[in-house]
Symmetry: C2
Subunit: 650 residues, 2 copies
């Protein structure tokens, strides 16, 4: 045993560790840790599903303090109100303790350590070592560890010497000692790994035992791979044309039809969409966008005010509530947002511009919903509405939003054309569409190769064949509209009287713009543009999972490489924090590597890593398929980690 240890765990204090455990544990502490002069340590161990409810409104940083309860047995009988009382007492006495947590010196590391170990004693010493090896600011931590196929959460709180002088310190000490005395049931810990392990096969049925928090492909909810005729019958069609993205998304279990033009978004698609929404949020907030959320139920009187209750015709889905009041399901929200801003009676020009946006479901009763997520009746849209104090300011805002759209598609690696467009039912004075050029697109576009003029064909005189700007010949292409921008002027603000106080102290109508992005449509359009006939490809930033790891087939010659694959999984999630939650293990080891690689290729994980024959070399080499570039390389573990450390995740 290292010298100088005894003072850190004096026999005179009631330790939560019986002495024999203490002896085993303290020598594990690295020197840096010992030098902190830690007086005492409390470890609360919590089994998942055995959370002790807090019966007091005990606030503070969120991890929560949980008492030890293992296998149905409480390790301490300290109640939450008691703990809270202690914390508050601390706060009151220690003037520089601002929140109860400060006293207990609790920090969360947010990092999940996965570690195979056989006994709880080992977990704890591992945990201490880990924490001891960390930066000094981590003097407490929560770690999720795996033992005997079962996962436990270990919360460690260190009682430091920062309260070692004066009244408050001795109070702390007294209270801490009381707390320690109460947590005296540790012997249960030493013997409870058996108890814990009996939970594993049932509780963690959705994780293979012994593998902790790994994401297992076999547990994914994803309807089986479908043949083309099955896809058609799913959609209730017989021989109707469907486009590539619709077919692939149905076949791969990314979406499932609910009713015509309405789809269930399945887990992979939800992940991709959430990533897309994060990119959109970043771009909108970079230009000053503020996010709101408006109801889908939109009162008829708003739409009657703009005459769109009639002019929108059968595209509006209408309903009546139990009191006979008419509503539509909002396909867009110019009316709602203008009425909302108009309700602010003391708006000053100094507060403008406002760029308000939301990402919500929209509804449109399409006569012929088709092409899957490309033209549905219920879909997600980002709609932004801007309010400016002058036409000039509004035009600057307009170009700011257009540039943010360009930046977005740029980040997604999607080529996008901005074309002059018709204002349609929204109205206004200037309008542009953002179009992804692709054959299945329903919009016909013209582009001038000489002067960069581009337009939706419907904005041009049908007899025109030359460019209005330079008189040169025009090229025609098809596109999918993924964004649309409108400069509205005062069309809506004049109806709802959305005013602000101008620089002269007089009320003045706000100059508006509105800007849409089809969120679910961008997902489908990206798949349409990037995929091959048989294989889904995603914009790198939006791929639902970045990495799929394929271990060898059970019973094959390479089976010994299975453990290396498991280790690699752990190394990746430890060494590349941004990939936590992004690595899938294809544990369907009853299938050959070839079959699973085929599946992975179809689903389009940007990186597929195979542990096969060369994983048994020294050093082990893994086969890495970079699906977005089509390259295949053999890399050592370090090579894999270096490659993956460059992957951007939003």
């Amino acid at each position: 045993m290292a010298p100088g240890v005894s003072h850190m765990c004096p026999a005179s204090r009631a330790s939560i560790f019986p002495r024999r455990h203490t002896r085993a544990l303290w020598p594990c502490l690295p020197t840096v840790f010992r030098s902190w002069a830690i007086k005492e340590m409390i470890i609360f161990v919590q089994c998942p599903g055995e959370v002790v409810e807090a019966p007091g409104s005990w606030r503070g940083p969120a991890e929560g303090l949980r008492l030890l309860k293992v296998g149905g047995k409480h390790l301490g009988d300290l109640s939450f109100p008691e703990l809270r009382g202690i914390s508050n007492l601390f706060s009151a006495y220690c003037r520089r303790a601002f929140v109860p947590w400060d006293v207990l010196m609790i920090r969360g590391t947010h990092q999940v350590w996965q570690y195979k170990s056989r006994t709880l004693k080992e977990f704890i010493s591992f945990c201490i070592c880990k924490i001891g090896g960390c930066h000094r600011s981590f003097i407490g931590g929560r770690s999720v560890l795996t033992a005997a196929g079962c996962q436990i959460t270990v919360n460690t709180y260190f009682y430091s010497t920062r309260f070692s002088s004066g009244t408050s310190a001795s109070l702390c000490q007294g209270v801490m000692e009381g707390l320690l005395t109460r947590c005296r049931a540790l012997p249960a810990l030493a013997t409870c790994s058996h108890q814990l392990s009996q939970y594993a096969p049932q509780r963690f049925h959705h994780c293979a035992p012994g593998r902790g928090k790994r994401l297992m492909l076999s547990r994914m909810f994803q309807p089986q791979k479908l043949r083309e005729d099955q896809v058609l019958s799913l959609e209730g069609r017989s021989g109707d044309l469907t486009c590539k993205s619709q077919r692939l998304m149905l076949q791969m279990g990314l979406i499932h039809p609910a009713s015509p033009g309405c789809y269930h978004l399945l887990p992979y698609t939800v992940r991709a969409m959430e990533k897309l929404v994060r990119v959109i949020d970043q771009e909108m907030q970079t230009i000053g966008g503020q996010k709101v959320n408006m109801p889908s139920l939109s009162p008829a009187e708003l739409w009657r005010a703009t005459k769109r209750w009639d002019s929108m015709g059968r595209e509006l889905l209408r309903l009546r509530d139990r009191h006979g009041k008419d509503y539509c399901l909002g396909p867009t929200h110019e009316e709602a947002i203008t009425a909302l801003v108009a309700s602010q009676k003391t708006l000053s020009y100094k507060q403008l511009p406002f760029l308000l946006y939301q990402v919500t479901r929209k509804f449109r009763d399409e006569p012929r919903p088709r092409f899957g997520l490309l033209r549905g009746r219920e879909f997600y849209m980002k709609d932004m509405y801007t309010f400016d104090s002058s036409p000039e300011a509004a035009q600057l805002t307009y170009s700011l939003v257009c540039d943010a759209y360009s930046s977005l598609f740029n980040r997604l690696g999607l080529r996008c054309i901005k074309v002059q467009a018709d204002v349609g039912s929204i109205g206004g004075m200037v309008s542009h569409e953002f179009q992804l050029p692709v054959d299945v697109g329903e919009d016909r576009l013209v582009v001038c190769p000489s002067c960069h003029f581009s337009a939706n064909m419907e904005t041009l005189d049908s007899s025109r064949t030359n460019c209005p700007a330079c008189q040169g010949p025009l090229t025609e292409t098809k596109g999918i509209e993924v964004g649309h921008t409108f400069y509205l002027g005062t069309k809506y603000s004049s109806i709802f009287n959305a005013q602000f106080i101008n620089v002269h102290g007089k009320p003045s109508l706000a100059e508006m713009g509105c800007y849409g992005l089809g969120v679910t449509r961008i997902l489908a359009a990206a798949i349409e543009v990037l995929s091959t006939e048989d294989c889904v490809r995603w914009p790198g930033l939006l791929a639902p999972y970045q990495v799929c790891l394929i271990p060898p087939k059970k019973g094959s010659k390479e089976e010994a490489a299975a453990e290396l694959a498991g280790d690699l999984y752990n190394h990746i999630t430890e060494a590349v924090p941004q990939l936590q939650g992004e690595v899938l293990l294809d544990d369907r080891t009853h299938l050959t590597i070839g079959n699973r690689l085929k599946d992975a290729n179809k689903l389009g994980y940007p990186f597929v890593i195979i542990a096969a024959k060369r994983a048994l070399d020294d050093p082990a080499h893994f086969e890495v398929w970079c699906q977005n570039t089509g390259e295949v390389v053999f890399l050592t573990r370090e090579g894999v980690l270096e490659l993956l450390s460059q992957v951007q995740v939003v």
Copy 2:
């Protein structure tokens, strides 16, 4: 100039820096940076709103490579297809370069540096120093810098020596040199700060010039503070009782009525809700939950199959589409999810359990919508549906979800009681409610102080006054139902024939559970529980912004402290990365500190920091209000940073 610099920027290579700039820049490099033997460096500078669109589908990590274009003038004439070609060429020749980015060695730092500087030359040298001072893995970076009140993005890419041997290296070198030769317009950089600054007042109108990306309170969209009678008139009521959370949320501009029982969620509330959804996601995914997203439009035939089309009565909002087909707006999705799972024809017991959940809007035509977000007609809910292979497994899943709910409320610091409940219209065999005890609650609960029995009063015989478990007396309390769990058995799976292949190879009906959490309701209930009559209080983890910084009043004696407040803002966002986007500057300096503190107190930012008289001490002391504990302390800058570094943000 430091010795040994010349080899890094040899005159023989066409540098993008004219020599005089090079001389000024290179000596800034710290030693660690020099030791990399960097051969050459390219810096692409991009002005916001001047994004060069990528006219090729150029994929890779998302930041995108943007050519230099400043003040309308391109600094290089290299097109994206050309760059892409070069990258692909690199990839093909350099066997160990997996993605084009690898060659260019591009990394994103994701960190925003805010730096006041007068010329672009200074930015660049600052940027190099920053990157040079970083860990070696950051050998390229994107930084957003502020100059002359204008913000620019600087992307730096370093060409390292990793390709310094063999054919591929010399190819790289050749191509890189070509690339460098093309980027020869740097002199424009040295003189363009004037051009840049002319954009600032217009483009960045929503940010005060010279302050870069600070969040300014004056620009927040938040309807004015309302008196109680104004709130009533807003809701179209005369003297009706509203509860505390409803009144406070309306008064503080957190929500705004759209129609009875439907609210616009304004920016603060959207931020809080997004944080709540992240906590829910964490808890659900920890127990194996997979997120899906089902349409709101729910076909009538599904509801007719379970007979709920009739039994749900007027609570269902119904509508008919243009083809005369009946739908309801889903208040819950047992029918939809069971039909979805039933469509998977080859489900094996090995894949179960499935825990599928979504966070979406739900609709219920409440006869009397009231209490704001507590009982609305359109609201956000988390609904989870589970599928197990046996009643025993389903019961384990049931307790797993209940424990996750307890953990959630624990993390939010909300006391929550789990009570036995009625199964209502959902049906099933076992049900529990999660109730927040509060007087305004609409549910009457009984709790036994002796044996922890608790129940919703409606589940008990009305004549009963003693505890069914221990016969002791019962205590009555009121609660807000924030969660509800149901063990459904095969009620729905038998109707839709949701089967799996069991261990004996025979089809068997899935055992189901369903589990709801009222997302918007939890927000309002938390405010109801935690707030005072006049001041909103949030669970720490959900507060829309963690910090509000109040500089002195303009023209006051303490005005000199304004700059210190601005510096503190920068220090916080630099030193505490998790607080980026969480710090608001109350720039309404025409108001006294007292008035702004009053507002901040009402809105409930967990930390309010004031730069007043003692900020002019040496060292400066800031007044810090810890609103969730009620404490006020004076801290130096280091003290503030230490305090805030402990704040948990989700």
